[in-house]
Symmetry: C2
Subunit: 152 residues, 2 copies
């Protein structure tokens, strides 16, 4: 089992390292990269949703959920970006990435870094007031990137 598992792991491994750590792995297939980055976005949606509700007062503020989800979001905010490799630009795989991602890489990186920064700040929020302020900035970071780099 171990051998089989490791082989599967290696097949998955090949695209990692396009982000912030340079290493020796070859390039992963575009459809795998797209699946991984969409997976990250789905999880960001999963853990952001309740916080958006709390921010708007539609559900009661729950410090335990808020802090747990904010921590998850901070970590998840590191994960989508190397999935936007140039190799995925013309993929037939269903996805909503706009060409602007590759036409304006500095602007895209800035938008990605904004999610990192705002989720890190959210994870530091210690009470309902600072949580709501910080969550507002996360929401704007999501919206800013989706407005510019995701199709409607």
């Amino acid at each position: 089992m171990k051998t089989k598992l490791v082989s599967a792991g290696l097949a998955v491994a090949l695209g990692v390292g396009a982000g912030y750590v340079v290493n020796a792995f070859a390039q992963q297939k575009p459809e795998v990269l797209i699946g991984q980055r969409q997976g990250a976005m789905k999880l960001i949606g999963k853990y952001w949703g309740p916080l958006a509700g709390m921010m708007q007062g539609k559900v009661p503020y729950d410090a335990t959920v808020a802090q747990r989800n904010a921590h998850y979001l901070e970590v998840l905010a590191e994960m989508p970006w190397d999935g936007f490799a140039e190799s995925t630009k013309d993929s037939q795989e269903k996805n909503r990435a706009l060409p602007a991602i590759w036409a304006e890489p500095a602007k895209f990186k800035e938008a990605a870094d904004r999610l990192r920064t705002t989720t890190a700040n959210l994870a530091k929020a210690k009470d309902e007031g600072s949580f709501k302020t910080a969550a507002g900035e996360v929401g704007k970071a999501c919206g800013n990137c989706h407005d510019n780099f995701r199709s409607k």
Copy 2:
């Protein structure tokens, strides 16, 4: 934009809380839960792959990648399980979950907890030797769960 974003967030929010924090959100649609848990598994594969390669000596040990990925895995290992809600058992959505997940919930929880424990231990590994030992335990946790709860 903010309002639109928040509404989208709320739509995503409704299934959260089936895990370890009880809260007031209603149940999410089965297909959304399946997409989220598959997203978590894809990301676990993404960050596990290079570590499996290092464990086997197929790629050189890189402490920076090893520690970063191990940290990611520890956090990701918290995320799939509430996606296996009973409501997803008979979903027509493409997935490989076996009925044993719901027939043997204690055994499934034990298998899930084993991934949590072994990835937490991996994140604590400080040198190549302890990394390889801990990675072996992670690999066995993956294999154990897939053997018993995922279709071939």
